[in-house]
């Protein structure tokens, strides 16, 4: 492959996708944890006298239509986003791994039924299904996470199945079997640890998309409910005054872009590290 020589001189070696993504994510987590230290404002205190104020020294990013400080709301908004995303991952990864490993390990009809089910869920429109689910379950953090999790586990299951299939014929699994290890002990102790790394990569790759879906739910009023500071619903609030006070919608949108970009970079970087077949 031809690599541009100028490019190598300008681009420092340590600044690869992985490091960049990782530092952006670390900053995001830091902001979520230490939001009270970074701003003096309470994100939910209303001050009608100061409503829709433009960015000034006093309010770094201006205020929304209830006079709440936007800078504080954007900082605090990192919390529900990260919480929801980690809930989704905590639900989807174990379920996906369980289904995928069982399908790959047991084979036969178990595999056919499980993989058919996985394929069905995978070919459904995730955001629309999530919206339909939330409309029945009711909006909120937990329900939003459940709705998003419902359509995001199949990719984990497929990957885990492929890896288990490859492992099934491996020597070390045969050795473990000869030692008398079988059934669930074999699955959890010997197959699961080998499927986990690629599941983590997949999780990182999916996180950006999940953040966007979560923000979409919030934008449509189906996510975490007001007055909690949530980026998607903040954009929706700002969309009413987009032509006059554009920053009310623009600022939380930047935060969504930042978070999703950070996780996408991290995911790309992780994949490049794990799978040398992809470029770099």
């Amino acid at each position: 492959m031809i690599i541009n020589s100028i490019n190598q001189k300008v681009w420092p070696k340590w600044l690869n996708t992985f490091n960049l993504g990782l530092s952006l994510v670390v900053i995001l987590v830091f902001i979520a944890i230490s939001a009270p230290l970074l701003t003096d404002y309470d994100p939910n205190i209303q001050n009608i006298a100061q409503r829709l104020a433009p960015p000034t020294q006093e309010h770094l990013l201006g205020t929304d239509r209830f006079g709440r400080d936007l800078f504080a709301r954007v900082l605090y908004g990192a919390r529900p986003t990260l919480l929801l995303v980690s809930l989704v991952i905590m639900i989807t990864v174990p379920i996906g791994l369980l289904i995928g490993i069982c399908a790959g390990y047991f084979g036969g009809w178990t595999e056919r039924v499980l993989m058919r089910f996985t394929d069905i869920v995978m070919s459904l429109p995730s955001l629309v299904i999530a919206l339909a689910l939330v409309s029945i379950l009711g909006p909120g953090l937990m329900n939003g996470a459940l709705a998003l999790a419902f359509t995001s586990w199949p990719s984990f299951a497929r990957q885990a199945r492929t890896e288990t299939l490859a492992l099934r014929r491996s020597d070390y699994l045969a050795a473990a079997k000869m030692q008398g290890i079988s059934g669930w002990r074999l699955i959890i102790g010997h197959i699961l640890p080998l499927c986990l790394p690629s599941a983590i990569v997949r999780a990182a790759l999916n996180l950006g998309g999940i953040i966007l879906s979560a923000a979409g739910l919030g934008f449509l009023g189906m996510g975490i409910q007001p007055p909690a500071a949530e980026w998607g619903s903040m954009v929706a609030n700002g969309s009413r005054v987009i032509f006059d006070q554009w920053w009310v919608a623009a600022v939380p949108g930047c935060a969504i872009l930042y978070a999703s970009l950070a996780f996408n970079l991290l995911g790309d970087g992780l994949r490049d590290k794990m799978d040398p077949r992809h470029d770099k």
Partner: protein, 351 residues
């Protein structure tokens, strides 16, 4: 083998290689559709709103309420209810919408062309630019162009589409006046339009009046641009990865060693080999556009499926929500099945 008479072997080969995969693809399509129906059925029964109570009102007597339940078939066992539900769906009866007081099917028939118009035009430009950008990136991997392609696709992949739409409106509509703003046509034209196929751009072109055509394009281009960016990003990202992987294979090295130019390798070696994957990528992108339309239509007040779905969500109009879910889901499943069949048809390796 004689050439004059097709032996039974040819027919059998045609069956096992061409028809059998098509049949199994069709079966799995039906199965997925069935799964979708099971999902919407469960949701419709799990809805907190009691349809019988909705019909008779709060003050009805117990007997009236039971009568309504019986009429709606809610007193029957669940498998029977599911069977009734299936036969209703197959007859195109999706129930009555609470907001419009019209059959959901009629509402969907009104909204569907608007979404298809938006998604198809966006898909056309997204695919065109996406394929071009991915090819340029693979033409010289690691070049400035490659980096630009990566950057654009990463940004397009990460940007919240509703926010991008809002900024687009702010910039191109409110500030620059380049876009005609929300909706599909200005009001004067909407009510004087002679044709009504549901596809406004097509109707406008049929009137032959440049003013109307320009107005339709003025309304269309901004939401199309937003959605096209989205599909372009995903197409570039996926196609670039696939083509790059292909260009590291030995047959490419061989072609290079034999002195074939990069362009020739790209066009006559790599491209035919990724064609099957390209079809899958395009189908995936089109389905995600149908979904992205939900958020974009809300921003642009575009009277399609997405806006219908969101207004139904706000009014907790279960019949309308599930009807739209079913329609979008069916489009997804159908497109996936068609893409699978096409992939098998063009790519002999998958047979």
């Amino acid at each position: 083998m004689t050439l004059s008479i097709p032996s039974t072997g040819v027919i059998r080969r045609f069956w096992t290689r061409r028809l059998q995969p098509l049949m199994s693809g069709f079966l799995s399509f039906l199965l997925t559709l069935f799964g979708l129906l099971v999902f919407t059925f469960i949701l419709s029964r799990a809805a907190p709103i009691d349809p019988a109570l909705q019909l008779v009102g709060d003050h009805a007597s117990e007997a009236t309420y039971q009568q309504a339940r019986h009429q709606l078939g809610l007193d029957q066992p669940l498998p029977m209810q599911f069977f009734n539900y299936l036969s209703q769906m197959l007859q195109g009866d999706l129930g009555v919408s609470q907001i419009t007081q019209q059959p959901v099917v009629d509402d969907l028939a009104m909204a569907f062309p608007a979404t298809v118009e938006l998604a198809t035009v966006a898909m056309f430009f997204g695919a065109l630019i996406g394929i071009l950008l991915a090819s340029l990136a693979v033409y010289k991997p690691g070049s400035i162009l490659d980096h630009i392609a990566r950057m654009i696709s990463l940004l397009g992949y990460s940007v919240p589409v509703f926010w991008l739409g809002l900024l687009g409106l702010l910039f191109f509509y409110a500030t620059l006046h380049w876009s005609a703003g929300p909706g599909r046509l200005d009001d004067i034209y909407t009510y004087t339009m002679e044709y009504n196929s549901g596809f406004v751009l097509y109707d406008a072109i049929r009137t032959g009046e440049s003013e109307i055509i320009l107005n339709a394009i003025g309304h269309l281009w901004l939401p199309v641009a937003v959605l096209a960016l989205l599909s372009m990003a995903s197409i570039t990202r996926l196609l670039r990865a696939v083509m790059l992987e292909e260009s590291n294979k030995e047959y490419v090295v061989l072609a290079q060693a034999k002195g074939a130019s990069r362009l020739r390798i790209l066009l006559s070696h790599i491209f035919p080999n990724v064609l099957g994957t390209l079809i899958t990528i395009l189908a995936l992108s089109y389905t995600s556009l149908l979904e992205g339309a939900v958020l974009t239509e809300t921003v642009f007040a575009w009277p399609g499926l997405g806006r219908y779905l969101t207004s139904a969500l706000f009014a907790s109009d279960t019949a309308a929500v599930l009807g739209t879910t079913l329609l979008i889901g069916t489009c997804f499943v159908t497109l996936n099945a068609i893409a699978d069949a096409l992939t098998r048809w063009v790519d002999p390796r998958t047979r």
